[in-house]
Amino acid sequence: MAREVHGMVEKRGAGLWLTHVFMILGVLVIFFPIWLAFVASTVTQADIIRPPMPVWPGDQLWTNYKNALFSGVNVPVGTMLLNSLVMAVGIAVGKIIISLLSAFAIVYFKFPGRSLFFWLIFLTLMLPVEVRIVPTYEVVAGFGMLNSYSGLIFPLIASATATFLFRQFFLTIPDELAEAARVDGARPMRFFWDIVVPMSRTNIAALFVILFIYGWNQYLWPLLITTDPEMNTIVMGIKQMFPSGDDFAHWPTIMATSILAMIPPVIVVVGMQRLFIRGLVDSEK
């Protein structure tokens, strides 16, 4: 009986094949833009400007990527990759550190102004940087932080998603642990380092994955504050590679750069898939 029911619910035979066919079609359609970009990064400019371009990779892979990485258009793509890496890691690490500390203070202490701070932090959840760009730009310019890593990083860590995530998690840590620590005369920071941080390991890793991608994929903010090509990040730098006039863009270099721009986040997402999905679900709760 149970077997028959399973047969009705989960497809077998021809139906199963059809399901796989649909799934493969879906994957192919979704993958097509990436495939085309990869092909374009392995052929010559001449192959592209006489459409239609080939759909199978050519033999220029090494030439195009070497050209992009070490010469680029305005600045070597290697430099932009480094800038993106510093920005993404800076945002992820910075946000995790300040959030761990403030969530610990809010959950484990009673102090004057606690609920006021809590609500102030809560408010920052509401306003993405896209909405307050002009005044934030003025602040950063006032500090002389244009074209600097700190200018790229600090305005983007002023948001409380991570604080809330850690707060929720700390509330599930059994009270007995804090009680025991207090009876043993352990100081709060000892409790923090020896118990709270090790217990939060998985949450920290999941959050790192999400924040790394968030930082890596930023566009508007780097576009505003990095006027010096040496400070461009790769995601915003691609657009700068297009010529302003009527000239042909150098597509093989641009597409090689696009592929290079997506490799680090793809490695993070696919390689740490379980952490990534956990982080995604957690941070939206």
Binding site: V5, M8, V9, E10, L16, T19, H20, M23, G26, V27, P33, I34, L36, I48, I49, P51, M53, I97, I98, L101, S102, F104, A105, I106, V107, Y108, F109, F117, I121, L123, T124, V131, I133, V134, P135, E138, F154, A158, S159, L171, D175, A178, P188, W216, N217, Q218, Y219, L220, L223, L224, V235, M236, I238, I254, S258, A261, M262, V266, V269, E284
Partner: protein, 293 residues
């Protein structure tokens, strides 16, 4: 919820919370306050003084036909992006859910586009539809259709919608797939015994059970298309042709940084702030509901 056990002292917690409070104050509260303040003034043409105009900037904006057009553009854009990213995602998730083996492989392949930045997605789609070298536009030309998103507003809108929705399919797929896996198999089997075939089961049982996820994704995708699609628009159309793809966030940027109209840009920021506030309230209302669900 509160902890029973608390540590004593007030200096340490203040020190712990200080970094976040300082960064939020300098890079969040001060700029947000500035936006509200500046929205009440018009700077003179030489930038030497500011003239107080009260709600004048807002009145001007709300009667400005370009601004109202931008509101309508944003509405159309976000509805289309939400639909074009949720329907294919649900379809793929339903298919993947029917597989006992192999769904993990498909999932790994399908989450790739999520990792691609919106601006990079914009460049990839621009390449396919480029009027001179694009593969898709070339084949459309062979079929007798003359694709030109540089001149045709409708085609420009279609292109930015598809490029924005593309990466979101991955995101929505993950949430729909997780929700489908959580639907109790016993319910489905009971319906199957009663003779309900696949589509009937889908419409009457599965879809209603998915409604919390669907509603959540609706709100999240609208927020995404409002605020995180700047990269797509900037790389593909730069708001054109004739402002047909100028969504609200793009207009804040182009008025504030390109045209240097600070009062108007600040007023637009405040209006967006109210929109975000409403969307956030909606989101929290829903989360409360989901807890009870």
């Amino acid at each position: 919820m509160e902890k029973r056990v608390k540590f004593r002292g007030w200096l340490l917690p203040l020190l712990l919370i200080a970094p976040q409070v300082v960064i939020s104050a300098v890079f969040f509260f001060y700029p947000a306050g500035q936006a509200i303040w500046q929205s009440l003034f018009i700077p003179d043409p030489f930038g030497l003084s500011m003239q107080y105009v009260g709600l004048g900037n807002f009145e001007f904006l709300l009667s400005d036909k370009f601004y109202r057009a931008s509101f309508a553009t944003t509405a159309v854009f976000s509805i289309l992006v939400t639909l074009c990213s949720m329907i294919p995602a649900l379809f793929l998730a339903v298919i993947a859910d029917r597989l006992i083996k192999g769904s993990g492989v498909y999932r790994t392949l399908l989450i790739w586009p999520y990792a691609v930045a919106p601006a990079v997605a914009g460049v990839l789609w621009l390449f396919m539809f480029n009027t001179r070298v694009g593969v898709v536009s070339w084949y459309l030309g062979q079929l007798g259709y003359d694709w030109n998103h540089v001149l045709n507003g409708g085609e420009a809108m279609g292109l930015v919608v598809v490029a924005s929705a593309w990466g979101r399919i991955s995101y929505n797929f993950l949430f729909f797939f997780a929700a489908l896996q959580a639907v109790p198999k016993s319910v489905i089997e009971a319906a199957a015994i009663d003779g309900a075939h696949f589509w009937r089961r889908f419409w009457t049982i599965v879809l209603p059970l998915l409604s919390p996820t669907t509603f959540f994704l609706l709100v999240v995708n609208v927020v995404y298309s409002f605020f995180e699609t700047f990269g797509v628009i900037h790389t593909i159309t730069a708001g054109g042709p004739q402002q047909t793809t100028t969504i609200l966030v793009y207009k804040v940027y182009s008025d504030g940084f390109v045209s240097q109209d600070l009062g108007s840009s600040a007023a637009q920021s405040v209006i967006l702030l109210i929109v975000v506030g409403l969307l956030t309230v909606l989101q929290f209302k829903f989360i409360e509901k989901r807890v009870h669900y």
